[in-house]
């Protein structure tokens, strides 16, 4: 520690000395360096805090507009009522495509007439069911147009749970506020609640990186060895020549990246 301190003391002295030697007529500079150091550091620290507050609190507030869903929905209540869990309303069509948010057609089975005293249900029946209008739900997980996501591949093919990506929305009693990114127009759930991009659970974000989190695990061999360098490529090639097929298991279908080809999820 002491040596470190010595060094830190020495360096400014050297630079200050050099500066005066080079610019001997302007001795004011030297005076400024020695004089109001405390206020400058304080100013710097205050500035740092101010920018942190702007960046971490004010900017996200400005970035996202808050939108309310047209009517509130109690997932927990409905999941208890239906037999088949999420798939009762968010179902697969016969051709493997996913229905997404239910249409009036599905709700109407039960909600042809007002069932209870809930003001949201009354609003739903009066404004949408009786008028035959679809509810303009704001979709939290809506992805850009260039993304192809196959629910069938994940739920049927890989036996994944809805929770893995969507979180415990099925246990929620009311719909949360839809926060729309004013620049991109996407929901905040895509970037994630944390503006710094940190996440604890698999469902905290829905960016491409989050898809990659799982998809890279499938190619553990590549993951372990990290980035493809020319040497690495050569070694892989030699392994491939000596025993063909042995390294394939760790490879994706993409020739460029040796992971999953972009075309798997893009369209």
């Amino acid at each position: 520690m002491s040596t470190l301190d010595d060094h830190s003391k020495e360096i400014p002295e050297d630079t200050a000395g050099g500066a005066t030697a080079a610019q001997s007529p302007e001795e004011k500079i030297k005076k400024q360096d020695n004089g109001p150091g405390g206020p400058i550091i304080l100013f710097f620290i205050l500035g740092l805090f101010a920018s942190l507050i702007v960046g971490w609190i004010i900017f996200p507030k400005l970035l996202y507009s808050q939108k309310k869903q047209p009517i509130d929905f109690n997932h927990a209540f409905h999941v208890a009522e239906v037999e088949n869990g999420c798939e009762s309303c968010h179902f697969f069509r016969k051709d493997g495509t996913f229905s997404g948010a239910p249409k009036l057609e599905q709700c109407i089975d039960c909600h042809e007439e007002i069932q209870g005293v809930d003001p949201d249900e009354i609003k739903f029946v009066e404004e949408y069911v009786s008028k035959g209008r679809e509810v303009p739900w704001l979709i939290y997980s809506k992805q850009p147009d260039c993304v192809f996501f196959s629910h069938a591949a994940h739920i049927k093919g890989a036996d994944m749970e809805c929770v893995a990506c969507h979180g415990h929305i099925g246990e929620s009693e009311s719909l949360k506020v839809y926060e729309e990114n004013r620049i991109t127009g996407y929901s905040r759930d895509i970037w994630g609640k944390s503006i710094g991009g940190f996440k604890k659970n698999t469902w905290d974000r829905m960016k491409m990186d989050d898809c990659a989190d799982c998809h890279q695990k499938n190619y553990a061999i590549i993951e372990k060895t990290g980035v493809k360098t020319p040497t690495k490529r050569f070694v892989d090639h030699m392994i491939e020549v000596v025993s063909p097929g042995s390294s394939i298991s760790g490879k994706g279908t993409s020739v460029q990246t040796e992971r999953d080809a972009c075309f798997v999820c893009h369209k």
Binding site: F92, K94, D95, G96, T97, P144, D145, C146, F148, S150, A152, A153, K156, G157, I248, S249, T253, S254, V255, Q256, T257, A261, C262, F263, V264, H266, K267
Partner: protein, 272 residues
Amino acid sequence: MKHNKAQKFGMVIDLDKCTGCGSCMVACMSENNVPFRKDESDKFLSITWMRVYRLTNGKPFPNTDICYLPRPCMQCAGQHEGHSPCVSVCPAIATDYSTETGIVSQIYTRCFGCRYCMASCPYHARYFNWWDPIWPDGMEKYLSPNVSPRMRGVVEKCSFCFHRYQLAKEKAFMEGRRNIEENEYQTACTQACPAGAVTFGDLNNPDHAVYNLVKPDHKHSGRPTNPHAFRLLERLGTNPKVYYLSSRKWVRQVGDNYLKNEAKVKKPVHHG
């Protein structure tokens, strides 16, 4: 998907059957949301993933002969799999070769429009979007939701209707299968061709029609046993997955650049 054996989707186009009607071009444009402009008279600027060319034998009247040649993306595999001309030059990994399907992909959101791939493609199969697409009023509603429309400044090309493969896979997952049937994945041009000139399928699968049309002769480094089969510019070594069939010799020769005195050479050139 490591469980799947590698597929190699390819197309066989019978030029004896092609009438040059252009149904494939129309079907392709509407299937893939291909943009067009008010004035399409300058064909160098129009985007046609599938384009029908007219070939002539260049002889005067009584002997003149015409052949129409539809040209999708050739989905070149290159000398070793994936060394397609365009894939090897792309600096953005916007175009890629999938060993699962053998299809050369184009990711529009990754492409930044340097157009190296266009320069490297010997088939002129790649097109650049000089303008943002402008759809006539109300036409957005007729766009296919399965294909994302392109923006200005990116390159696009035929994808062998890859979205149809994605949908076929989805159906297969739904039914607990891993592999898709031949009829589940067909391109729009194949289905639109009224003459049945276009055949599409997996060149690796002996059950598929394309395999039997251009059955590889392993004694001759995989060249089709069918003597009428040829590929465009084969001698460049691009190893395309689109085969053409023609009973006319001059058509087969137009398919590649032969020197005048070379035309007598009968021996076909071998390429894997």
